[in-house]
């Protein structure tokens, strides 16, 4: 019979598409345009690595030296490229080593998909070799997570994973896949996820809220904008700048909002928060309208909430309804994607200028310059300051570089003094404060924006938490520039010990190795600077280098970062010394 002489097109298609779960994972990644992944192999993820070998022309895998390095690199990649970062790890310790990066991505809203191998489903719950309940462990620090035990479920679950990671307020997703699901076969068909009925990524904007917001903005005498990473995540830089310029309102940024508006913009009045600028902190408590745009009133931004902007009306532009009234009560909440809500607001607001009010910020700038900035950028003392290193980097990069910072004093100095002329230029661990973040994140940051200069600014403490990632730089020949600001102390903790613990320097002094020799061991060009007269040429040489470059600068050991809002104090009690 004729019917037996040819296979129906459906059956033929199905036969052709029968592949293993592991191959399906690779095909899902490719379908999501994730052709660069970071990871570390191990027993329970080996079938996936076997497919990575077969697909090495289509998908690039970056072998880190530790799973924490892999995930921080994926974060750096996501932060500079705007794409979803992907990290792979094996079960057990491989998976648990991802947890710090997952928590970091959760609190800093970074889109990640982490794929972990898991023991075979028949072994689940038997305390098998390298078995750990990573779904249980990662639950509180993921936007979503899921365990897959059947090959057939892989395409749908990974499609959901990418959709959830990047939609709405982005975040990390972890998918745990048992080894038998990787070996098992399925009929592969990939459909991108377009919606989940229980999940509304972008809340509906109430048109009334826009009218009320516009009215408050038009009537305000001393309005003040504080913007966060929402502007960057929403790709709203252009409309945000238009909004600032039309209204003439002074705008300050949170640490994660840095670079959403050029630091050279005349209405950019600096950073808010614990080590932010004097004017924006002081005047938070004098403005009559506080306009929060894509930020979440972190305690490091607000200081004591009981004394935070109590005199002001508050408008909160936000994509995550759970952030409304969480820390600061909003008089008007404008829910939605800030790129859209600002565009809708724009025609409702009047063109305005607030020169007198802006001058108040500039007056505080003058005080801050005299008391703090001058000494940091142009120190008279013999010892080098962290600020003058940043000044040199600004000069050589013209504010065009991506600055990746670690956590501590150097981070605050980098964020305070780096010039940012382009968006997505400040990559730092803001919410979690993860020491060890910068070196691996810089690798990913460079891969996410290969045309841009990437300079990692790291302290001598944090550097040694992930120093093994020099191996990744060596192997991948990633041309990142690494600056270690070495004060032989865990400087920020030491500063607090000095100010609040009567100088009892408990376990903060570091006896450090020869960092230059270590870098050279990885065949990375390296130089150490101890004197001011060597600094400029060293920075020039570093930025001019086409390859990776390591620069250690020995700075003054006991310098402090000011201004500072002590814990429990009000933003307006910001100290200059």
């Amino acid at each position: 019979m004729e019917a037996q002489t040819h296979v129906s097109p459906q059956i033929e298609k199905a036969v052709k598409k029968r592949i293993t779960g592991a191959e399906a994972i690779i095909k899902c990644l490719l379908a999501e345009d994730a052709d660069l992944v970071y990871g570390y192999p191990g027993g329970a993820i080996m079938p996936v690595y076997d497919e990575l070998y077969k697909f090495q022309n289509e998908i690039q895998h970056i072998l880190a030296r530790h799973e924490q390095g892999a995930i921080h690199a994926a974060q750096g990649f996501a932060r500079t490229s705007g794409k979803v970062g992907v990290a792979l790890a094996t079960s057990g310790p491989g998976a648990t080593n991802l947890v710090t990066g997952i928590a970091d991505a959760q609190i800093d809203s970074t889109p990640l998909v982490c794929i972990t191998g898991q023991v075979g489903s028949h072994l689940l719950g038997s305390d098998a070799f390298q078995e750990t309940d990573i779904v249980g462990i990662s639950t509180p620090v993921t936007k979503w997570n899921h365990q897959v035990t059947k090959a057939a479920d892989i395409p749908e679950v990974l499609a959901k994973a990418f959709y959830i990671a990047k939609s709405g307020r982005p975040g990390p997703v972890l998918i745990d896949i048992t080894k038998d699901a990787q070996f098992g076969e399925l009929d592969f068909e990939y459909k991108k996820c377009k919606g989940i009925r229980s999940y509304k990524p972008v809340p509906t904007t109430d048109p009334d809220s826009l009218v009320k917001a516009a009215q408050l903005i038009n009537e305000a005498k001393k309005p003040f904008i504080v913007f966060g990473q929402g502007v960057i995540l929403g790709k709203a830089e252009k409309i945000f700048k238009d909004f600032v310029e039309k209204t003439g309102i002074p705008a300050a940024w949170t640490i994660l909002g840095a670079s959403a508006l050029s630091t050279k913009h005349p209405l950019n009045v600096g950073m808010v928060g614990m080590h932010g600028n004097y004017g924006p902190n002081k005047l938070t408590n004098e403005c009559d309208l506080l306009i929060a745009v894509g930020m979440r009133f972190d305690d490091r931004v607000t200081g004591n909430l009981e004394m935070y902007a109590k005199q002001a009306k508050v408008i909160h532009f936000e994509i995550d309804p759970a952030e409304i009234d969480k820390n600061v009560k909003a008089d008007v909440a404008v829910l939605g994607d800030v790129r859209k809500t600002l565009a809708q607001l724009y025609p409702l607001i009047q063109a305005n200028e607030h020169d007198e009010w802006l001058q108040q910020f500039r007056a505080y700038d003058t005080i801050e310059f005299e008391k703090v900035i001058k000494n940091e950028l142009y120190p008279q003392k013999e010892g080098l300051s962290m600020g003058e290193v940043l000044r040199g980097i600004n000069r050589e990069t013209k504010g065009d570089a991506i600055i990746v910072s670690d956590v501590g004093q150097h981070q605050m100095i980098a964020c305070r003094y780096a010039e940012f002329t382009k968006s997505r230029s400040n990559v730092t661990s803001g919410g979690l404060g993860t020491m060890g973040f910068a070196l691996p994140a810089a690798i990913g940051a460079k891969m996410g924006a290969p045309q841009r200069e990437v300079v990692a600014i790291i302290g001598d403490g944090g550097y040694q938490m992930t120093i093994q990632e020099l191996g990744t730089i060596f192997q991948t020949k990633t041309p990142v520039k690494i600056v270690v600001l070495n004060n032989s102390f865990l400087g920020m903790v030491r500063q607090w010990q000095q100010l609040f613990f009567d100088k009892r320097y408990a376990s903060t002094e570091m006896i450090n190795p020869d960092f230059v020799t270590i870098a050279k061991g990885y065949d990375i060009k390296a130089r150490k600077v101890t004197k001011r007269e060597e600094l400029d040429t060293a920075i020039n040489e570093m930025i001019a280098s086409k390859e990776a470059y390591f620069l250690e600068v020995c700075v003054e050991k006991e310098n402090n970062v000011f201004p500072m809002i002590p814990t429990g104090a009000s933003v307006s009690d910001v100290r200059l010394s």
Partner: protein, 176 residues
């Protein structure tokens, strides 16, 4: 702000890890659950968590938002006691010989509107459904006779006002 009883009703997809995810929200904020009950709901394939907590209204508002933020949560509501109809169920296991030796137990059962659900030669089991206070009264009255086992369920409750879950799900289906 004063602490009160709040009943949180959470409509969810049926997912294996969701209980963990929801309880983690309370754990992170050091809030103790008075009770937690999971069950099916009036809608096919939609599950329902009924959680009772004693906190301030400010806290419960924030908690509900955090719960709703979870991907597989369809919607969460909170209600004060007077906005819901609620019940708990308790079971008391008692030695059968007491039923004959201590005849007043039968009066206690009757007066408290409790029921005997089973009797065996060794033990019998009383079921009492009602508000917490009613169950506690019965518990106090039966305790002197000696209880072999006692167990009380979490609260189940329905709200007096509508919770528009079906509409939400229909809207999603239409949008697809």
């Amino acid at each position: 702000m004063k602490k009160e009883n709040y009943t949180i009703s959470v409509y969810t997809e049926n997912n294996i890890g969701l209980l963990n995810r929801i309880s983690a929200i309370f754990l992170k904020r050091h809030i103790n659950l008075d009770s937690l009950t999971t069950s099916v709901s009036e809608i096919k394939d939609v599950f329902r968590f009924t959680i009772v907590v004693q906190i301030t209204e400010d806290q419960v508002k924030k908690l509900v938002k955090q719960i709703e933020k979870q991907i597989e949560v369809i919607k969460a509501y909170y209600h004060k006691d007077d906005e819901t109809i609620y019940q708990e169920t308790a079971l008391f296991k008692i030695a059968s010989k007491l039923l004959f030796e201590e005849r007043q137990i039968q009066n206690v059962i009757k007066e408290n509107n409790a029921h005997i659900v089973t009797v065996t030669p060794e033990f019998f089991v009383i079921e009492k459904t009602g508000r917490r206070g009613e169950v506690e009264v019965l518990h106090e009255e039966l305790k002197p006779y000696g209880l072999m086992q006692f167990v009380r369920s979490g609260r189940i409750s329905v709200s007096k006002n509508k919770m528009h879950i079906s509409n939400m799900l229909e809207n999603f289906a239409l949008a697809e």
